[in-house]
Amino acid sequence: MSEPLVLGIESSCDETGVALVRGTELLGHAVASSVDEHVRFGGVVPEIASRAHLEALLPTLRRACEDAGLTLADVDVVAVTAGPGLAGALLVGVAAAKALALALDVPLLGVNHLVAHVAVDVLVSGALPERSLALLVSGGHTELLDVRSPSGDARDLRVELLGQTLDDAAGEAFDKVARLLGLPYPGGPHVQRAAESGDPRAFAFPRGLTAAHDLRRHPHDFSFSGLKTAVSREVEAHRRAGGDVTAPAFVADVAASFQEAVADVLARKAVAACRERGVDVLLLGGGVAANSRVRGLLAERCEAAGVVLRVPPLRLCTDNGAMVAALGSLAVAAGLGPSPLGLATDPGLPVTTVVV
């Protein structure tokens, strides 16, 4: 008998994602993003994101089915992000998933968004590595996870939070610096473009939580607020000295130096954690994986340390339904769940909870 067809729904931030997965094969996939509606606010506005999820719900569901050449009647299991994420946004996806489970009379699985970022790798590689670390970096989160799955599936999947950001997420830092430099939201792609012609050594921006005394208390945590403040001070100093803070050369140098600082901290901490724990697979996830300098520096440092860096295709790194369906599929195969119809969303769901 073929494996169950899992439909995954993701709505934890500003992406509405629906996908269909059977086993470890991605059959259909659709994502709607409300990013354009947040541009003039310089960041995700939760109420706008929630409204957009509701509007995108049926069109995205239909597109995913069309993409797979399947209908809702073919679905065997419905998986959905139960947390962590924005409360109002999560509720839309979970309500939809429950309705689908009810209407199709199939099991419901509430899954962890962060673990789903890790699980999406099985759509590329076929199985979870026995042991890996995962670096998840996006506008909403920045985490370093220790992932164990001795059997290569979800039966014995254990996820431990090694470290996280103490303030801004990495993607948020890009957004804030973009704003300081007069670049549009979302900051990631614009800062990267500006940085292309800049000198990454032009400014010596701080690497948060990498000093010896910080490393004792926060070996695997991140902090980007000091970096943002340093950029802000540099821009202000330039302005006071009569410089043009929108001059392309200045913007390029600041962007390049900032980007280098972020990439350096991420790579340094991730590789150090791999060394410390004796892990030789590092998985990258989240929208910041789109940044070529972050990817490049990680690849360089991983290679030097004998660590295999795994980066899913970009469309699977950003938030999407495929990662949710992938984790759902692993969970079903391992006999986890189902979740009750009374399933609650949990904006602060701990990473140790794989299935709610």
């Binding site: 003039r40 606010f41 310089g42 506005v45 109420e47 706008i48 929630s50 409204r51 509701l54 509007e55 719900l57 049926l58 569901l61 239909r62 809702l72 409360a87 109002g88 509720l91 839309v92 979970v94 309500a95 939809a96 429950k98 309705a99 689908l100 489970a101 009810l102 209407a103 199709l104 009379d105 704003r179 009750p340 119809l341 009374g342 399933l343 609650a344 969303t345």
Partner: protein
């Protein structure tokens, strides 16, 4: 035709009807747990009536105005049920459902017209003004003559009419009830006036309007308010 009716504008409720006839209903007042309570309530009313979900002919849903987060749970649920079961989804104003619920409670004191007021949070109410033509017909014997709108309790143009609903209960000084001082509350408490729309009445209202015509809305929230969002000073004027 079997109709599944949902309302998450204030309380969270589901009802199953055969036309206007109520088969089963479940209603909870827990304004922070719409997302948890609605699906089990649907499952419960189907089981109580011994109806298979595939026998449903339509889904009816209250579309507000109401606090957004809870409201979206009902609308998202209705939309997806309709899609997956291949049945139409009809929206109806939650204040209309509240008006019909109040009249169905059989209060002669509302025969001269009344105002329905729901809690809009932030010290405001969602309100509508109702003119009554035939108090014995809660589904068709009335018209909306003002609203739906959002306002501070003191700014609702009641025209001296008594007010019912949770919003009126919260601000009785600005929105007095019927002169006979009838207690209001959930029907389960034996109160004479309802505080929230009854999902069973909401379903019957939709059945009536499908039958005889009347306002049915697209299944999308009546927000009335814009999202709270401030354009940062650095971005304003760009």
């Amino acid at each position: 035709m079997l109709i599944l009716a949902l309302d998450t504008s204030s309380s969270v409720g589901a009802a199953l009807l055969d036309g206007e006839r109520l088969l089963a209903a479940e209603q909870h007042h827990d304004p922070r747990r719409h997302g948890e309570l609605l699906a089990p309530a649907i499952s419960a009313v189907l089981a109580a009536a011994g109806v298979d979900r595939r026998e449903l002919g339509a889904v009816a849903v209250g579309v507000g105005p109401a606090p957004f987060t809870g409201l979206r749970v009902g609308v998202a649920t209705a939309l997806v049920l309709g899609e997956a079961l291949g049945v139409p989804v009809h929206g109806v104003g939650s204040l209309d459902a509240l008006a019909a619920t109040a009249l169905a409670a059989g209060r002669g004191s509302l025969a001269g017209g009344f105002v329905v007021a729901a809690d809009a949070r932030r010290k405001e109410v969602h309100w509508a003004r109702i003119a009554v033509d035939d108090a014995s017909d809660p589904l068709s014997g009335w018209r909306r003559t003002g609203g739906p709108a959002v306002a501070a309790p003191g700014d609702v143009p009641t025209e001296g009419l008594p007010a019912v609903g949770r919003g009126a209960e919260l601000y009785r000084e600005a929105l007095p009830g019927p002169a006979d001082g009838a207690p209001s509350g959930p029907p389960s408490d034996g109160a004479a006036l309802p505080t929230d729309p009854d999902p069973g009445v909401l379903g019957a209202l939709v059945a009536r309007r499908l039958e005889r015509g009347g306002e049915l809305l697209a299944p999308q929230p009546l927000y009335l308010r814009r999202p709270d969002a401030v354009v940062p000073a650095a971005l304003a004027g760009r």
